[in-house]
């Protein structure tokens, strides 16, 4: 390939996301067009590169980049919002006018909160030059590091590599300005046997591409594909399970979405207390479990400010099994006389020092789960979800993996699961999104859990 033909990374060109100075200039330009009592401008900009492969070859790939400007205008207690991706003055003026028109037409908001003034932020750290510079040719090379070994083994590899690089800024008429930039990358692969009787998955996500190794990742999926061939049926029921970290992440992250103080106080959440109020101070899971979100977690960096410009900080949600904090938006915090506490874009669970091999060795009869799939809510009262195992499910007998088994549907809650802990391993960053996007950053350990509720069998491979 000649030099001239080589695709230049869209992500590498500085114009593909806005620098602090560019975002500030754009925000000031928008604020200059505003006539409302209060105006907030949010600016997201960035590029995404992606490469898909299927049937052991690249199927589609593309790069795109975009900038969106969102304007929130308030007159009195009336608010409206508009979003555009056209950045010329005329278009921005029209977007401001739209937000202001919507605001004037809207009824008064009894839960209106005034815009914040200037805030102090810690610096966001989730940026990697390596991730930002990952070009289509490099992506294709990474893909080949998976597809070629799979092909050599007579297997079929399918997968996805996505890298994102962008910035996010919030500014308002009170002089608040927050800016951060971040990268994210995820690589996942599903390797199948040509006869369709075996399937293995492996995946990784990080802000730093250099932390992801395509060849070993592919090798894990290849190994699982071979081991999972010709699975046999087991009776559904309550099983001791050894959950690989991805499977734990699939379920533990669901708790994060329920950590909302208002829903709890209103009586419509697992965190609601019988008779009224919420479960802060109550023990809800095993005392070995601690759940923390920290924007400076080096394995799971997250943004250091919320969408309205509120600083985020290290937050302990559950400590030694006891609920310590729930998320409070500014309105509900004011109602309850507490400090607002925004959600943070990452989650880390405590761990232990038992390896997966030791967990298996200490299990008389159980099931090893690679990951879960199609996880959907069933009952918000208990954070009960249903879903299935996928791409590597094995029976453990007498301390050893004895054979591949068919996939199983569960109806289970991460809360019940974390009350039935037998052993915990070392926490690691996982790719826990079903779609293979970099998603919500989760750091979790492998777990051994008793009485996990499998309700039916699936012959899907």
């Amino acid at each position: 390939m000649s030099r001239r033909d080589e695709p230049r990374s869209l992500l590498r060109q500085s114009a593909r996301y806005l620098s602090r100075e560019q975002a500030q200039e754009l925000a000031q330009r928008v604020l200059g067009f505003a006539t409302a009592d209060e105006t907030r401008v949010s600016i997201g900009s960035g590029a995404q590169g992606n490469t898909r492969f299927a049937v052991s070859q690249i199927s589609t790939a593309g790069d795109n980049f975009n900038t969106t400007v969102t304007i929130r205008s308030v007159f009195g207690r009336r608010a409206g919002q508009s979003t555009t991706n056209a950045l010329d003055d005329a278009s921005l003026r029209r977007a401001v006018a739209t937000a202001e028109r919507l605001a004037k037409l809207s009824p008064e908001d009894p839960e209106y909160m005034p815009e914040l003034g200037p805030q102090q932020y810690i610096e966001a750290r989730g940026w990697s030059d390596t991730t930002a510079a990952l070009e289509p040719t490099q992506r294709a090379t990474a893909v080949r590091a998976i597809t070629e070994p799979a092909r050599a083994e007579g297997l079929v590899a399918t997968g996805y590599l996505e890298n994102n690089a962008g910035s996010f800024a919030v500014a308002n008429h009170n002089g608040l300005f927050a800016w951060s930039r971040s990268t994210a990358v995820a690589l996942t692969t599903t390797v199948r046997t040509p006869d369709g009787t075996g399937s293995g998955w492996a995946g990784a996500a990080h802000h730093d591409w250099s932390r992801i190794e395509p060849a070993p990742l592919g090798a894990r999926a290849i190994e699982k594909a071979k081991l999972s061939m010709n699975p046999s049926a087991v009776e559904p029921g309550r099983y001791t399970v050894v959950l690989e970290p991805t499977a734990v992440g699939n379920l533990v992250q669901l708790i994060n979405f329920a950590l909302n103080a208002r829903n709890a106080d209103e009586g419509r959440s697992f965190f609601s207390k019988q008779g009224g109020g919420n479960k802060i101070g109550e023990k809800v899971v095993d005392e070995r479990v601690t759940l923390v979100s920290d924007p400076h977690d080096p394995e799971a960096y997250a943004n250091t400010f919320s969408g309205e410009g509120l600083p985020t900080s290290r937050t302990t949600w559950i400590e030694n099994g006891v609920v310590r904090n729930l998320a409070y938006d500014r309105y509900w915090a004011q109602q309850k006389g507490v400090d607002p506490r925004p959600q943070v874009g990452s989650l880390r669970m405590s761990g232990g020092d038992t390896t997966i091999e030791e967990m298996i060795a200490n299990t008389q009869r159980g099931i090893l789960v690679t990951r879960f799939w199609y996880i959907r809510p069933v009952d918000p009262r208990t954070i009960l979800f249903t879903g299935l195992t996928r791409d590597g499910t094995f029976l453990i007998e007498n301390g050893r993996i004895s054979r591949a088994v068919q996939n199983l549907r569960f109806n289970e809650s991460p809360i019940f699961m974390l009350n039935n802990l037998e052993a915990m391993g070392r926490p690691v960053r996982v790719s826990a999104s079903e779609s293979g996007s970099a998603g919500f950053a989760v750091v979790v350990p492998p777990l051994k859990v008793r009485d996990f509720n499998f309700t039916s069998l699936s012959e899907a491979v």
Binding site: M1, P7, R8, R52, F53, V55, S56, Q57, S59, T60, A61, G62, D63, F65, N66, T68, T70, A79, S82, T83, T84, N85, A86, D88, S91, R94, A99, L102, A103, S106, P107, D109, E111, A140, T141, V156, T158, G159, Y160, E162, G196, E266, G267, R268, F270, S272, W373, D379, R381, T386, L388, R390, R409, N411, S413, G436, S437, T455, S456, A460
Partner: protein, 536 residues
Amino acid sequence: MTSRRGFLQQTGAAAAAVAAATSLARTAGAQAVVAPLPDAAVKELLMEALNAANLAGASYADARIARQRQNFVFTREQQIQNVVDTDSIGCGVRVLVDGTWGFAATRHLTKDAVAGAAREAVAIAKANRIARDRAVVLVPTPPVPNASWKGAYRVDPFEVSIEDKADLLLKANAEALKVANVKYIFSGLFFVKEERSFASSEGSLITQDNVRTWPLMQITAVAPDFSDFQNRGNVVPPMGRGWEYVIDADLPGHAGQWGEEAAAKLSAKPVEVGKYDLVLHPSNMWLTIHESIGHPTELDRALGYEANYAGTSFIAPPEKMLGQLKYGPEFMDVQGDRSQEGALSTIGYDDEGVKPEDFLIVKNGIFNDYQTTREQAGWLEWWYTQEGREVRSHGCSYAQGWDNVQFQRMPNVSLLPGERDVSWDDMIADTENGIAIIGDGSFSIDQQRYNAQFGGQLFYEVRDGRIVGMLKDVAYQMRTPEFWNSMDMIGGASSYELGGAFNDGKGQPSQSNAVSHGCPPTRHRQINVINTGRQA
């Protein structure tokens, strides 16, 4: 052609007749937040992109300039939570170079930028060449040199004032809040307007616009002692219609009844696990069709192209399934189409310029066809030849927006009504020991679409042909082939309704598609029902 298919074609005919010219320029009206682009300018940009792709070495190229606007109003109880307008416009260019795809997109609508995206797409295709075996071949489609199409909407929701929208929602909320134990309401209106211009290097130039509308309401009843809460939601299906659909849906007129239903669930009897005859309302059944017929009959899934996310399909390999798999009873016909008026996937031309056709996915209970694009239809040439049918795409190509590459997405997939005019009430009257289910709830299905579990909104115990009370904590588990072969009653044409999904995910990066599913009520014998209630 059966009378049942004729029934659906009648409803689709009106949509096809409303072929009004539209353009980005003329629809960028008073509420527009993007500078209007004249027709000629759009065409010029599309041609610039195609020309640049050609010069860079593409053997095929298509370019789409698309604008997507969203408007939503969300409320809770007696206040507005959010009023939002969004607007996104840009150009995506897809190319084939040496049988390999490349795609790039830009939000800058200048000649330089779209030409740059075209060259970038070509460069990406060349980079991908090292990792491809089999060259992509597109089946022929007639060029459409100058076509336009407009969706079924009568009143553009983007021309309706926010006051009218907020007023309607708050009235509905107030009605529901009158019911004892109803404490919380979420309601909203969600509108999407898409304007797409498409051009291909084969000479097509197509402009289309479409509106989707989704009235939302979720009502929460809380027990006085905080020991339980129950929701009633998913009350009105999304549709490819405009503001007139919101008026017809009459949220304020129905909210009281939905509130009563939420409150009644607090005292409903927990279901006993076991096997029951299920009478499924179209408002529940559409989602079961979506998951257990819609997805497994996507050809890319069946051949492994979606294995890493959406999964594969139990309907594979095609040569062992087409014309052989007994999906259900002989009276089961399932149609794929993009022509039913007001349905979400209905469109004049797909995102590679193909005029979609109606086709039978299941014919007389036997699996008959997959959903296809131009790349895929050729893979089934043996089947179409054997059947004496033309090898052509069914027109199922779709991209979420200008910045996503198009691929195979679901058309409207509908279970056609039975010949006899059987009603919902007739089915209940004929059922000895069963559960009647209304509305869609929890849903989950495995990656090959065998094992599924579905909930619902309202569950009624049926004994000796009568509804005797309300149940809760109900979910039915099924294995797809058994479930469909257990169907022993199907409703007639007058019981046929459209349900649908506003945001169906597929692909990596995941793209959202909107799709409708029509069906009559059905009855299924001896289906496994579990109780999902647990104590925390």
